[in-house]
Symmetry: C7
Subunit: 291 residues, 7 copies
């Protein structure tokens, strides 16, 4: 091939319509990808904002701040995913083999999937704790064996301070079943066992009378005497319940204990000691018992 | 190549039948995809509506509202899936490499599959709780260690309020085995232990007589005295059962306790204290016991 | 290119043998697919019908209805699978890229595989409970900690009503090990502890004599006195067993208790109280014990 | 193109060597696939037959029937797998796109893999229970908390009847660790506690003498007196063991109990009651104990 | 072909424009990959540095060192991943089949995913323990059944020294729920049981008076007497609590025990022994108890 | 086309160099595959033989037989894998689409992977039990709750016979942690509690003296008196230990019990009964205790 | 085609530049692969050596040997992986379809992944036990319920010999949380309960004085008397602690027990028996208690 021929071939190659068309179409597509990617991100952000605003309008101010955090996290995740796909599409448009990149992402994804499934679960559960308003900072909750006042709700862990001062740090993914003590009024339950010899009706009357006159700032209603809960060898058990403000049942129980103790003492009604009937046999003779 | 040649080539390219045919077929296919997608969504929505309507016709009004919620959720999920596939098919029709998009979806799916399997399980179980009418708001249920009145049934969590006021928030996926206390009449069971010295027949007579005359608004039938449940060193245990309206067995038990206690007191039948026979030995001599 | 040339090219394209052959072969294939799909569905339905008929011929009428339900479910599942594959084959025949559809199905399958594995397990186990006739409605069964009469066997859940009236709703997948109390005669077991002082042979004689004369509609044979089950400080334990009709052992036990109690009372054989030998030491001197 | 030209082209296409060669090769291959598939099935069936025959020659007749069942199952599974692959190969030979079929099979396989893994495990374990002869119908076994006589060994479940009549239906996959009580002679163990005051040597002599003269059809050897098992505050524990025929140890224990009780009574050796030394203090003065 | 022809062909091949263009484009791409890879690594390193610096500015010096370790680890991991992908891209650019390499990586990834998931989980959890500052070296923590002072926090394991000297080595992945005793003041709780005969009010007064005068360097406030915690047969339980400096509650409890014991002794208030009422019956006549 | 032309074309096709070259290369490759496959199998077999021989040279004869079994198994597995791959390579060489075959293998592999993972685990663990010589037939081992003499070690299950005769069949995969009692000398531990009144030094002297003169064929050294293990209200506990031959500690313990009991009796040292100090109060007046 | 033509064609084929170039490039690539593979292996080996040397320089000689074992294992694994990939690359270079080989490896990998994940976990954990020096041969450790002296640390199992002689063989993967008793000094804890009547201050003085004069070779410091640990009905509990050399706390405890017992005896301070206040009531009249 002469130089001219070669030059012509190069020129021909450079001025080939199909090549330029392909190139133009590529450029157009890339621009399109960028535009669409940007658009998708914008739509997602707007949607998240609207959802949060809707929720916020019916909430307390302190909740709003948390919702904003959640919204920010969701926006970040969504943006990363969309941008990752956009970059992939653009690279593939320029004819770069994406296999290795995707394989890298796949191996990473597998590692995350297996090793970090509890991490992912923590964040998802944390997200729903906030979204569903299962409990708030300051509530008294119990989850598993840990009970205390909620100190901090994070996306991965929740901190609960027990009443004796320890801080329990619990991954959200471990918070399967929560008991919230701060939502409703609680019922203080006091069981009093009186002796068999006592007349049950009189004891019930004494306790009922005490209960009616009882006053406590935490009480919602006057305590109620339910009746004979159980008959056991040790005596007859009378149950008293009292509806009180959330999380005050241990204080109310102590008041009830004090008042019932005093009333029973005053009326001479006995709280029984364990009893036992013993038959004495005096041994006579050798080694055999009871002979 | 001269300008004319180039122009001709472009014209030729633009007027090439195969190209236009391919383009036309593409446009047709896209339209077809859109149409079919829309159609499939419409069919699914109609099917869901009909299924719900059928179920609703034999239900309570409050149930209807929940079924509507379930139907809405199912419609949403179905629409999203169909539209996702439609968009995929259209994009692939325009020659856009779907690999990256699908890879992105795959990685997300993997993350969901591993980290959020309990979330998916929660929703599926919640869906079946509503569909199978396992329990309704207001029922008293027990699941695992949590017992109380159902407060709210959501798609992800169920809230149960215990009788002492705590709110248990339980993910539906943890609700494996439910005991519903509000469906059938319940049986109140009272075990009374009388002393060995008592004549069993007389005791049975006294209790039977008391039971026949007993009246309680929660009782369905007169309580039944089953007989001697057990013979133990502490005495003879007599079992009394009473069918009562759902969830009232603890109230009925208290009434039974009260009445049986009074009847036994009146007839002079003893509820025995624990007994023990003791053999006294007086020690004489050195260090060996009982010598 | 002149119009003639173009027209010729289009005509040539339209009359091209290979194209028409390809098209014809496609049409033929689609027809073939539809035919084979229909055929496969028909064969599967017939097979299921035959299998169920065979099973039904040796069953109770109430079982038949359940088998029909199972058959219907299996037919539905099989039809859906075959039609799904047929549609896939036809679409691929028309050159539509199935990748996205399959990817969609794959992501759904993954979600089902992970999140709904307990759902799938429920249905499979439910299917085998019916097929293997493990228990029927009305049987008394125990699975895990739940015991009661079977109320309803569904494909996903089984409802068991305990004797005190609660309804336990148990997912079939949790029913791993079942104990069926309604299949065989049960053995009522009564352990009686008599005092050491009593002559064991006489006690055995008294109980044996009582047992021979005992009559109860639920008894299959006269109860059997097995002998000395254990020698413990509290006394000698004698075991009596009685074969009785399925699920009546608690009733029979109560009868046995009553009769044995009366017989022992009549013969003056003692049911022993716990015993203890006590050595009294009288303290002399200051504060030190036993000095 | 003239008709002649077209006709020629079709003829040329139809008489094209390469086409016919390809077609012929396809037909040959299909025949080859069918032949090989049939052959592989035949070889597998023969192998299974031979393996079973070998095992059968050293077995009981009732076992043979079970082995035949297992063999039939294995033949079925093998045939289905081979035929499935053959059909796949033939279809792919005719140029049919197998993707959708395989995808369908894959989704089904995934569903089976996840939802039915316990089903697969049941069958595999059941297969090995039979193959390894872990237990047979009529053996007394314990697995987990279930103990009783084996009623039926199926490929998916095993039924065990407890001695009180309940039927336990246990999936084979739950039978991890089995205890078989019917293989070897069992040892009946009886622990007798005598008082401290008794001379241990004399007690050992008395029991040894009784044991030598003891006769019981279930006994393999005369029971053996092992010696002092433990020294506790309640007394000195002497252990007696007796080898007896499989599964008769509770009967033998009762005989031993009876004989030892009689021998000790005759020799005046005491089975001790619990003992306690009590120091009595008489209170004088105010409220402080022991002052 | 003559030599000239062959020579020409080689020359032509070597001077072929397309080849050189392809080669040039390859070289350019490789350079681009190297550059981008380097850039990505640099950006990631800078980001990590900035994140750590930000966190460090609000931390203690000892924490800084740990953060640096974490940062180094993250930089290493990120670099390895980026370089691995870059090498893959370059190799694929030179037309080397990457399938085997990726398959090798895939098999390794699978092995890691399954066998080493607890290893990955350990490192991820360790990373979050440091990042979230759940506990620090020197803190007293409890996780699971292990309690003690934190000795060392590694990326895979944490070492906790119990107060009796044992070193517990705990993989971070097992540290699900941590209780940190060193963050807040702790509450020392002392329960004192006094006899029924005592006047509760006087006892409360005595204890309250003692508490007011109590001095201890670990006490934050004067201890508080809560009231009657429980009424039991053994006596009335009074609860005293004292807020004290973190982790000093056992020391404070000992002080409280000592002071309360002395105060009660001085006031003559009794700590009750268990009590029991015994009814003596003297046996007369034959074998029946209590006759 | 004339016949001549056609004939020429066929001849040309048949004598085409490239075709024959391709065919020849295929034949060569197949031969190569067969050769290499055979070679690989041979090398693996030799390696296994050498490894086993090495291990055998330092082992007992009974172990050799087991190693041979293991070796045979490994050879079989290796051969099957190599032959499977060889057949695959050859089939792919003849242009047969391997997709379906591999898909079949994949579905089977998945089924095995999920349903039979415990089977695979059993065999792998069984293999290591033999290879690592964890225990041998005749050893006394404990794994989980099962203790007894090893009867049989198979590749899938191990049979352990308890001392009372039951045969425990344990899948090897459940044998996680094994305790082997037959490797080292065991220590018999005897705890003797003496009364507070006894002089501890004298008791220690008496026991020490007895221990020195003790003779037992299972004893390795004279038993050692460690000192005061615990001070409890019931008395002072003295611990004696004795090194004895493997698995004979229960026999030795019985001998020690007997000798110590006799020595203490002879020296008049008391084994104390439980003690209690009782304060008697005589009730005067109405219903209130202790008034 | 004449022979000449055919000969020419073959010659042309053989002397075709592109073919030779392709061949040459293949040979070059293979050589390159071998070289790179060898190089990578060499680099990995050197890196492992350097890492081990670094670690060895600060270690005990016995540790060195273990590190060498670990290093050898890592070298082997790395070599196998690199060589496997190299062979794959070379085979693919020669145009051999690697699909089947990789499929074989994949199925094997899957089988390993599922069935042998505990094996992989054992080896990884074993590797980290050695690398992190969690415990050494001769240390006393506890993991799970197994406690004893480490006998052997292997890559798959660790052998621990309990103090009574049993050998526990524990797979490394089960060693999650280890407690090492041989690292630090241990604290011996002795709790002494004295009677209420005793003056607490005098008792504390007596014990403190004894402790100061106590000498024991295992003691690090003089034991410390902490104070009143608890006030219970049985008496006042005094806690004494003593820092002693690793793993000698049971010996030191015995010494402390002996010395404290002697000191209290000498000072006449009582270790209290359980106490109880009994109220005697004498029955008058018929069968009713307390009448």
């Amino acid at each position: 091939m002469s130089f001219n021929e070669r030059y012509n071939k190069v020129m021909e190659w450079l001025t080939d319509n199909e090549l330029w068309l392909a190139f133009g179409s590529s450029v157009l597509r890339v621009a399109l990808f960028l535009l669409i990617g940007r658009l998708v991100v914008w739509i997602i952000h707007k949607t998240i904002d609207r959802v949060i605003l809707e929720r916020e309008s019916k909430r307390l101010p302190n909740h709003t701040r948390r919702m904003t955090t959640v919204g920010k996290l969701m926006k970040n995740v969504a943006s990363y995913v969309v941008y990752f796909i956009t970059v992939m599409l653009i690279l593939s448009e320029f004819g770069i083999n994406l296999g290795p990149l995707l394989a890298g992402a796949g191996v990473l994804g597998l590692a995350i999937g297996f090793g970090a499934q509890s991490l992912v679960k923590d964040i998802i559960t944390g997200f729903f704790i906030v979204l569903e308003d299962q409990f708030a900072v300051g509530d008294v909750i119990q989850t598993g064996q840990f009970k205390g006042t909620v100190d901090m709700i994070g996306l991965r862990t929740t901190r609960v301070q027990s009443w004796t001062g320890e801080v329990h740090i619990i991954p959200n993914g471990m918070i399967n079943e929560v008991t919230n003590f701060s939502v409703n009024n609680t019922i203080a339950v006091v069981d009093i066992t009186i002796a068999f010899e006592e007349e049950v009706d009189r004891a019930l009357d004494v306790i009922r009378h005490t209960m009616i006159t009882l006053r406590d700032e935490n009480l919602i209603n006057a305590p109620e005497v339910l009746g004979i809960q159980a008959i056991a060898p040790t005596g007859v058990t009378i149950r008293v319940i009292a509806e009180c403000r959330p999380n005050t049942h241990s204080i109310v129980s102590r008041t009830l204990n004090m008042e019932i103790k005093k009333a029973l003492d005053a009326s001479g009604i006995e709280i029984p000691y364990p009893r036992m009937v013993t038959y004495h046999r005096n041994e006579k003779g050798g080694g055999i018992n009871g002979a």
